[in-house]
Symmetry: C2
Subunit: 241 residues, 2 copies
DNA sequence: CGGTTCCTTGAGAGAACTCAACGTCGGTGG
DNA sequence: CCACCGACGTTGAGTTCTCTCAAGGAACCG
């Protein structure tokens, strides 16, 4: 099933109808902060197709972004030409938290599926920090949470542990309770994120399916036995934070 | 050569004589923020011996800490009993940035050498955020920088790349220009940090020494050919950020 | 329809791990 | 003062997990 581009492009631009208003940093401001918000430049940017870049590593870090729809990845390319996926960004997530206070972005960001993001200029972020402690506090908490997640991911785990934890995390973030997850990203992106070879991701998924723990059909994964998966992933479960 | 406990314990408690005043978050406040600072509880905590815990994973996250002297590590222990070192904390570093806004610490922290830290209560951190945009901004930048570092460390690199990058980073952080670095931590801690076996760390160090790139005598490492090391570490150099 | 890109599976190679032994260092107590 | 002890560091041998290389099939796009 292809990503529903039509539905995304018809989304209302006004925040009142934003699909992620519940977890939006801007919308999360208390009534007392509304006065600050009117000064922000919030620009809705559509990325029509998968693969389209939002910005490149090394670009001037002039904004942070808020994901409204779709899926994006941040990644670096090392001097050997290997791509390292640093994070997947889903609706409600913030992009660019690892570049606050720096001149240039540490990583590039590209769409994994067609996506929509809201742009917040870095100058406005600085103004926010000066004016709205409640939003700043949330920004700091998000950055702190991302840091914890990154440190967990950096841990030393087996391919099976990493992949199982990844599936459970995706189920929580994307399907929130549903047994079937539709993964937005390719095997290659998953592998680059989990520091594995594409083939290893395939093989482990096949093995999990043989064991009856999942049913996998291309990008759609049915988590048949979540308890078994949780017990496999246990050492790496902090990654699902 | 044992860590000089005497020198550490004789350090003045007043910030004016603090050895890390230059990089201290509190001291970094502009003159306009000094009024805020008087309200902080800044407690100097000495950790007399290596191995002593500052706090455990799961403890109520009631403070962040500023390293004044010595070396500490944050670490988690997974359900397999394996220790994962998440970071080494050197003078001037902040501890607990990955737990801001959360109830409990995600990782424990213990002294690697005898150490001194300043405690700042989480309630005071919150007050800071509300009162001093300039300190908050620095706090956010530090957290953001740590996030970037963690994401780099999470990358997929060879043992040689990781260890070389680690040596260069330690040289920069500890010796700032000097050719010889005295590592505060054991091979085991380095291995747990870099996701390697202790033996692999030893073997790579031996190999680097045979190649004439370093001269290693226990914890003291002489970086003879930094250009060669940099070129070996190149893909992982972001880790040295 | 071709031409990609993605997914999957197999066979062989290699990097890092585990297990094991031994030397060294520093602290402790007889 | 020296012998003992435990923690740390180093080295070797064999194993294992994951990677690389290779190929075929499926899905998607122009």
């Amino acid at each position: 099933m292809p990503f529903d581009t039509l539905a995304v492009s018809s989304l209302q631009k006004r925040c009142g109808l934003c699909p992620v208003a519940g977890s939006c940093l801007v919308a999360a401001a208390g009534r007392d902060d509304i006065a600050c918000l009117s000064s922000f430049e919030r620009t809705l940017i559509p990325l029509a197709s998968a693969g389209k870049a939002l910005f490149e590593a090394g670009d001037a870090a002039q904004s942070i972004y808020l994901v409204r729809a779709g899926c994006l990845k941040s990644f670096t390319v090392d001097s050997d030409g290997k791509e390292h996926v640093r994070a997947f960004h889903l609706p409600g997530d913030l992009i660019g938290l690892d570049s606050i206070g720096r001149d240039r972005y540490a990583a590039g960001v590209a769409a994994v599926t067609p996506a929509q993001v809201c742009r917040v200029a870095m100058a406005d972020v600085r103004r926010l920090i000066a004016q709205s402690p409640s939003i700043t506090s949330r920004l700091l908490e998000r950055t702190s949470r991302d840091l914890d997640l990154a440190l967990s991911l950096a841990g030393d785990f087996t391919a099976e542990q990493r992949i199982t934890a990844f599936l459970l995390a995706m189920q929580r973030r994307l399907a929130s309770g549903a047994r079937t997850v539709r993964l937005p990203m390719s095997r290659r992106d998953i592998a680059n994120y989990l520091r594995l070879a594409t083939e290893t991701v395939c093989r482990v998924l096949t093995r999990l399916e043989s064991a009856g723990h999942i049913r996998s059909d291309n990008r759609s994964v049915d988590l048949l036995d979540r308890d078994a998966l949780r017990s496999l992933a246990e050492p790496a479960m902090a990654c699902a934070a």
